[in-house]
């Protein structure tokens, strides 16, 4: 797709990320300037105090794209679903 087409993607939030943002999921159009996970987090922080609180320490945020764990430099182009959550604590 051309660089300037906005990416429409479902965002999912879990655990305290969900609680701070105040919702479990939303569908957004990412601006064309948002290329990777770190960009996405930076953009989300500008969307309000809940987002700012959730993402104030990006180093403790984990991300999955289309249900696979990814790093902060993973490209979000073509993603259908991006999830943000704290380090997992199952088991």
């Amino acid at each position: 797709m051309p660089d300037d087409t906005p990416t429409t993607v479902k965002l999912l939030y879990f655990a305290w990320v969900r609680e701070k943002i105040g919702m479990a999921s939303e569908v957004v159009s990412l601006p064309a300037t948002v290329k990777n996970v770190a960009d996405t987090i930076g953009w989300l922080r500008t969307r309000g105090s809940g987002y700012e609180a959730a993402f104030s320490r990006p180093q403790v945020i984990r991300t999955a794209i289309d249900q696979l764990h990814v790093k902060d430099d993973a490209l979000v182009t073509g993603a259908r679903e991006i999830a943000f959550f704290p380090p997992v604590t199952g088991g």
């Binding site: 999912l12 879990f14 655990a15 305290w16 969900r18 999955a64 249900q67 696979l68 764990h69 999830a83 959550f85 704290p86 380090p87 997992v88 604590t89 199952g90 088991g91």
Partner: protein, 151 residues
């Protein structure tokens, strides 16, 4: 070879029987059962809620199980992980590995638990006796436990 994510309790004895019935090649069966502790860092826990990421949870557990099957000669394996509200003493997670070889069954079970704890998208929120809730922090040693299996 199966993975289940469920709210319902499980019975370790029944799961062993179902997994190994009729197979006389096995010889060695290891189970790990994780349960809710009544204490955390000195404070009493009244209950716990396990949140998870439906879809990704099953995919990650299946991926962890496939990795174990590639590394060890297993005749059978099972991962069951619960979600929802749990009380102290309740079952959380069950791993079963069955093999002709004792060491394979032990190491595969330990690997499954270490990997599962570092990768499966579950989050625990504890409610203490005074009603306050707090999300459990990931422990560095869980990442380290998974790290040692890297190759």
């Amino acid at each position: 070879m199966a993975v289940r994510v469920q709210a319902e309790d499980f019975d370790t004895g029944c799961e062993i029987k179902a997994l190994t019935a009729g197979n006389t090649d096995i010889g060695a069966i290891v189970t790990f059962t994780g349960t809710v502790r009544g204490q955390a860092g000195g404070a009493s826990i009244a209950s716990m809620v396990l949140e998870h990421y439906p879809g990704m949870t099953e995919a990650e557990l299946a991926s962890v199980e496939r990795e174990a099957l590639q590394r060890w000669p297993l005749d059978a394996s099972l991962i069951v992980h619960r979600y929802g509200e749990l009380l102290p003493g309740d079952n959380i997670v069950l791993v079963i590995t069955a093999s002709a070889h004792r060491a394979a069954a032990f190491h595969a079970a330990e690997f499954l638990m270490d990997y599962l704890k570092s990768r499966a998208p579950f989050w625990k929120k504890e409610t203490s006796a005074d009603g306050s809730g707090s999300w459990v922090d990931a422990r560095d040693c869980d990442g380290g436990a998974a790290e040692r299996w890297k190759r």
